[in-house]
Symmetry: C2
Subunit: 210 residues, 2 copies
């Protein structure tokens, strides 16, 4: 059955991005280390058109990224470029012409823009009337598949606070960032129950959200 999930990597001290995010450093200072667990995996490499890579528990976790997902939702800064304001319409995301989504992606933004159709099945839709509307559109696009919110922190916070998430997968990277953007900031007190744990270079914990 279709459900609403979220997936994000955080540091052990709770940051989803480092300080001073910019176009040159979209995840903030030091935060590329956050994602070190995923870059060597065969699944991540395959998703980005690179051959080879490692198998094992981290690869298993990476392989689940798009499995059963009929639509993604992301925040404006994850689509980029950071800084907000009106779109530079030449901006087509961080991922080149064939982004690793292959389904509709709904981008939360304050600035309207025509849908952007990429190669490989990804179309970015820009939603200016709030998270509920984005979810409604994503559900319609996903059919009987899942809708997955993939960040950044602020997008997941909004869905968590609104009680709209049914499942949250955290990749706990074994690093400390010390500062940056926290995932769990002003999200209320949702009921969380760990339902799956996978041990790898990161610790991958899936929570059912009550």
């Amino acid at each position: 059955m279709s459900q609403v999930t979220a997936e994000i990597t955080i540091s052990l001290d709770g940051f989803a991005a480092g300080p001073n995010q910019s176009k040159d450093n979209p995840l903030g200072e030091g935060a590329e280390r956050l994602h070190e667990w995923v870059f060597p995996t065969a699944s991540w490499r395959g998703q980005h058109g690179i051959e080879g890579g490692e198998t094992g528990p981290d690869d298993d976790a990476a392989a689940g990224f798009g499995r059963g997902v009929g639509a993604f939702i992301m925040g404006r800064n994850m689509f980029g470029p950071p800084g907000g304001g009106e779109w530079d319409e030449s901006w087509r995301g961080w991922w080149g012409e064939d982004p690793p989504y292959h389904v509709p992606v709904f981008v939360l933004t304050h600035h309207a823009r025509e849908p952007l159709t990429m190669e490989g099945g990804t179309t970015f839709h820009f939603v200016t009337n709030g998270i509920e509307s984005a979810l409604e559109q994503a559900r319609a696009a996903a059919g009987d598949q899942d809708v997955k919110v993939i960040g950044g922190a602020k997008a997941i916070q909004q869905y968590l606070r609104a009680g709209l998430l049914e499942e949250l997968q955290l990749h706990l990277s074994p690093i400390l960032l010390g500062s940056g953007e926290r995932l769990f900031e002003d999200v209320g007190d949702p009921k969380l129950e760990p339902v799956e744990v996978v041990a790898g270079a990161a610790t991958h914990v899936t929570y059912r959200v009550g």
Copy 2:
């Protein structure tokens, strides 16, 4: 071989204690929920002289508390009562006459006090000349067994920052406290590698500290 370890429970948003710690509420508001994973376990109950309890992965994690430990180190507030200042010498800890340690316990404090011998093998030693001295004394007491730092957050922070910990076991409780005392505050950037993960009501992750 003897090593220096630490063990503590934190919320998913990184707090080792809730806000407004007091004598009536030593773990702060809401923080008894932090430790909900351990109270039903047969091991915790046995350590506190209560019969019965549950077995399973959380019990396995709880059973490791004193295993191979020849001396504990704790902060002044963990011994209590909170508030600092001179000792009320009538205070004998939170645990009654037979505390669940059964080995020497070194308490980090600014106020000297004679050692306090309890039942069951626990003696509290009060160390006023710093964390290195406490560790040295604990090592001498532990012989070829481990020294374990068991909190609170500030005690573990000091050992982590000083590069004196070899292993850190975190019990990640599936709750959000929103505020309180964070474990990872001003601890630098130690190298951490997860070496054991146990899935239960909490997620128990042991990190090797490099």
